[in-house]
Amino acid sequence: MPENWTVRGIIRATFPLLVGLTLVELASGLVLDTGQEILTTYPSLLTLVPVTIGMAGNLGSVLASRLSTALHLGTLGFDARDDELAGNALATIALGLTLFPLVGAGAWVVQFALGGLVLPLTTVVVVATASGVVLAVLAVVVAAAATYAAYRFRLDPDDVVIPVVTNVCDVLGVVVLLTAVELFV
C-alpha cells in the first residue's frame, strides 16, 4: 500500500516477496557456481555475467510492464496474432539482437584494455549473441505467461508480474549464458 508509510508497514508488505525472490536467485547462483572454473579461467566470460543477467531481467520487465499497461487499457488480447502482443514480442527480440552483440564486444574490449585477454573476439560475441536471442524469446514467453496468469487470477500485474518476471529472467540468464559457454568455448 503506497499510503502506508511506516517502517513496519513497508517491511511487512515487501519482506516475504523479497525472501521468495531470493530463493529463486539462489537457484541461479547455484547454476553459476557450477561454471565457476571456466568463468574464472576466462575473465571476459565473467564480465558477461552481470550484464547478461541484467539485460535478461530488463527485457522481461520492460515487456511485462508494457503488456500490463496494455491490459489495464484493454488493448491487449492473448492471441499470437494480436497486434499489441506480437509487436511487443518482435520489439523484444529486435532489442536482444541489437544489444547483445554490442555487449559481447564491449566485454571483450574492456578485458582487452585490462590485458586479461584469452578468448578471441568472435567467440565472446557469438556467446553473447546466442544467449541474447534465446533469452529474448524466453523473456517473451515468461512475460506473456505471467501477464496472462495475472489477468486470469485478477492480480494487479504491476505488483506481482514485474518482480516475478525480472527474477525468473535473471535465472534463465545464467542458465542460458552457461549453456552458450559450454557450446561455443
Binding site: P2, W5, T6, V7, I10, I11, T14, F15, L17, L18, V19, L21, T22, L23, E25, L26, G29, L30, L32, D33, Q36, L39, T40, P43, S44, L46, T47, L48, V49, P50, V51, T52, I53, G54, M55, G57, N58, L59, V62, D83, E84, A86, G87, N88, L90, A91, T92, A94, L95, T98, L99, L102, V103, G106, A107, V110, L114, G116, T166, D170
Partner: protein, 192 residues
C-alpha cells in the same frame, strides 16, 4: 496500431534505457572479472552474486517507485534534508529490508551448499560479506535513488520513468563493488 508500428514504438522507447543499463552492467562485469582471487578464497561467493544483485534492484527499485508515487500524490516533498517522516520511514525500511534479505541469502545459500555437499566458506565469512555489502550498497543506492528522483522531479521529469533505469544502471556496479569490499573484509578478518 499495426504490429510494425507497435514494434517500432516499443523498440524506440526501450533502446536508450537498456543500452544505458548495459553499460552499467559491463562496469559491474569488469569488477567481477577482477574478483577471481576472492571467488577462489571464499567458496560460495559466486552463489550469492545473483541474489545480492537482485536484492539491490528489488529493494531500491521499490524505494524509487514508492518515492515517485509519493511525489505524484503530494505526500512527500522533494527535500534532500530527509526531514520528512514518510521519506525517512521509506528509506529506513528499504535499508532494513536490504540488509536483512542479504543476510537471509547468505544463510540460505550456505545451507543449500552444505546440503548439496558443495564447497562453502564458513557461515560467518559469508555473513560478513552479505552484511558489509548490504550496508554499504544500501547507503550508496539510497543516496543515488533519493537524489535522482527528487532532483529529477524538481526539474519537471517524471520520477516513475527515472527511478527504474537509475537503479538498474547503478545497482549492479554498486552491488558488485560492495560485495568485493565485503569479501576483502571477510578475508582480512580471517573468517573465510
Amino acid at each position: 496500431m499495426s504490429i510494425r508500428a507497435v514494434a517500432r514504438d516499443a523498440y524506440g522507447e526501450a533502446l536508450g534505457v537498456l543500452a544505458l543499463s548495459a553499460v552499467g552492467g559491463l562496469f559491474a562485469g569488469v569488477v567481477l572479472g577482477g574478483m577471481e582471487r576472492e571467488l577462489t578464497v571464499v567458496p560460495g561467493l559466486l552463489v550469492l552474486v545473483p541474489a545480492l544483485l537482485a536484492t539491490r534492484g528489488n529493494v531500491y527499485g521499490s524505494l524509487g517507485a514508492r518515492l515517485a508515487t509519493g511525489l505524484h500524490q503530494g505526500l512527500v516533498e522533494p527535500d534532500l534534508s530527509l526531514d520528512d517522516d514518510r521519506v525517512r520511514a521509506a528509506v529506513t525500511a528499504a535499508m532494513a529490508n536490504g540488509v536483512a534479505v542479504s543476510a537471509v541469502a547468505a544463510v540460505l545459500g550456505y545451507l543449500v551448499l552444505l546440503g548439496l555437499g558443495r564447497p562453502a566458506a564458513p557461515l560467518p565469512g559469508l555473513l560478513v560479506v552479505a552484511l558489509v555489502a548490504g550496508v554499504l550498497s544500501g547507503v550508496g543506492l539510497t543516496v543515488v535513488v533519493v537524489v535522482a528522483v527528487f532532483l529529477g522531479y524538481r526539474r519537471g521529469m517524471n520520477p516513475d520513468t527515472l527511478a527504474g533505469p537509475v537503479v538498474t544502471t547503478t545497482g549492479d556496479v554498486i552491488g558488485i563493488a560492495t560485495m568485493l569490499a565485503g569479501a576483502r573484509v571477510a578475508i582480512a578478518l580471517g573468517v573465510t
